[in-house]
């Protein structure tokens, strides 16, 4: 048995039945990391000693009959989540030696749920990008083709799960940073509704859209993790007090749905991607779901709105990094962060605020209203997640690469909706292709339900890259 190829559900049951120990499981992942991470660069920091200690503690708790939702399960965590006493860089040299004195709420919740923390995963620096090309620690490589990017910004997170270096990963999305890499690496990637999961202790990118979420092999794994992550946090005033559902049960409702599709989400998309998403839609129709054409606001405008809002919020959020209380000074910022801060500062500067930031906030209202209108007619909306399969290392040098690549995930992110990437097959080159299922705000149970129904028919997650 290859211990490192399990799902959360399988590993939990084996731990419970004493077929394996958390220490054995953790050692299997650490060995895997030692063997293949020099090739992939998924991790910025591996916390081997801490992981082994946590595994031993978990084994004791398991013997004592303790029942925690993620007890003894080895996870990776994206390097923009503050982890107490563990270096946290956001993949930027500005924070090369930063050791947070506290943990993000997401991290505390995972620890309380019993995880074993394997280490911190690589990302685009400050989460600025859609490939990991902007990481100050070098790009992560896609496990399906190491000459290609894994997507980003949670690229290390996605590569760590796709290559079985971790059982599951915690990433974060501002607009596409969970769904995108999940798509390019053949994983389930869940971007929760804005405010469903706390942002406290996450190094901020754009505060009005940042949403932490899991990257996993299966839908059930994602649902199980969301149950742990979601909920009101007194330290994040924007977190929602709506009750958290038991997603791993509600996802089994098996509801027949009306699925909206919009032509604009397929325009200019790679023909193999379009074909695979169409195939998935046909399969869903054959299982009794209804596919309905809808009109949606042209996603090309979302690039403009997102670029203005995000870069403005970035310029404000990164202003605090002055190297005085922690980290290095502002000369350590690399090109992408400077580009984003400069445009954001310009957009917020005297005389330009109305033309840019305020205008973008108004168009955002139109996008929100447009989705509300669509969701009056349909239960979910489906489209491709990214316009192409994974691109080659070195091909992400357009100064707006990140914003343009994420065209199909930006509208829903701007509107604060929930969405999930599902693997729908492979390109002729053997690269994973993903589709996204977008739902209403706080409609996680609905998108997980459809994702689960689709997964049962396809099980693409069972295919593994050759590494």
């Amino acid at each position: 048995m290859d211990l490192h190829t399990l799902t959360i559900k399988e590993a939990k049951s084996k731990l419970k039945n004493k077929e394996i120990s958390s220490l054995e499981l953790t050692q299997a992942y650490l060995e895997r990391i030692e063997k293949i991470d020099p090739k992939l660069n998924s991790f910025v920091t591996v916390t081997k000693d801490k992981a082994l200690q946590m595994a031993k503690d978990a084994d004791e708790a398991l013997s004592a009959g303790e029942d925690k939702p993620l007890l003894g399960l080895p996870f990776s965590i994206k390097d923009n989540f503050c982890t107490k006493d563990i270096r946290t860089t956001a993949s930027s040299k500005v924070l090369d030696d930063f050791i947070p004195p506290y943990s993000a709420t997401v991290v505390s919740r995972l620890m309380d749920a019993g995880i074993v923390h394997l280490g911190k995963t690589n990302m685009d620096a400050w989460a600025h990008g859609s490939s990991t090309a902007t990481s100050d620690y070098g790009p992560t490589r896609n496990p399906w083709d190491v000459e290609r990017y894994p997507g980003g910004s949670s690229g290390g997170a996605a590569a760590s799960v796709a290559s079985d270096e971790a059982l599951a990963a915690i990433g974060s999305e501002t607009a596409g940073s969970v769904r995108g890499p999940a798509s390019w690496c053949g994983l389930v990637g869940l971007k929760p509704t804005y405010g469903r999961v706390s942002r406290y202790g996450v190094i901020a990118m754009a505060s009005s859209t940042d949403s932490p979420g899991p990257l996993t092999k299966t839908v059930e794994d994602a649902a199980t993790i969301l149950e742990v992550l979601a909920g009101k946090d007194p330290h994040d005033a924007t977190s929602s007090s709506l009750p958290v559902e038991k997603y791993s049960e509600t996802m089994k409702a098996g509801k027949k749905m009306t699925i909206g599709i919009a032509d604009d989400y397929f325009d200019g998309v790679d023909s193999e991607v379009v074909a695979k998403v169409q195939e998935a839609l046909k399969l869903l129709e054959s299982k009794g779901h209804t596919v309905k054409k809808i009109e949606l606001f042209d996603p090309k405008y979302a690039i403009d709105v997102y670029t203005i809002l995000m870069r403005s919020e970035v310029s404000s959020n990164l202003a605090r990094f002055d190297g005085i209380r922690y980290g290095n000074d502002r000369s350590y910022f690399a090109e992408e962060a400077k580009r984003r801060m400069m445009l954001g500062t310009y957009a917020l500067s005297s005389g330009y605020y109305d033309a840019y930031y305020k205008k973008a906030q108004k168009v955002r209202t139109l996008i929100v209203e447009d989705f509300a209108k669509a969701f009056a007619e349909v239960d979910v909306i489906i489209g491709p997640t990214l316009p192409t399969p994974a691109i080659k290392i070195g091909q992400a040098d357009d100064p707006m690469f990140g914003e343009k690549a994420d065209i199909l995930t930006e509208p829903s992110a701007i509107a604060g909706l929930c969405a999930i990437n599902m693997p729908v097959g492979f390109s002729s080159l053997g690269l994973p292709i993903g589709m996204q299922i977008m739902g209403r705000q706080f409609g996680e149970s609905t998108i997980l339900d459809l994702a689960y129904q689709y997964e049962k028919e396809t099980e693409f997650w069972k295919q593994k890259p050759n590494l």
């Binding site: 859209t209 922690y326 400077k338 400069m342 108004k362 209202t365």
Partner: protein, 99 residues
Amino acid sequence: MKIDIAHIAKLANLPLQKEEEGKLATQLDATIAYIEELSQIDTSKVEGTNMVTQTKNVYREDEVDEFTTLSQDDALKNAKHKHNGLVLVPAILEEGDNA
């Protein structure tokens, strides 16, 4: 439109090299030209959205939250320059200035 790069860099508190300024100016002009297409959309009757989930005015008691309080040692741990239990900051006033 031409951005005054040196002015914006000063506002953003970013030290830029001369060659960087030139490259950024070209890229930012191109990005601004790109996002100008937003002006095609009529928003004369639309209010802006700041908070997508409609959450509003979340208050808390005005009291010390132990959870978010650091000890002096913890708060200073990451500072590179410190003196007598305080963070040393770059001087703003010149010697001899009368504040």
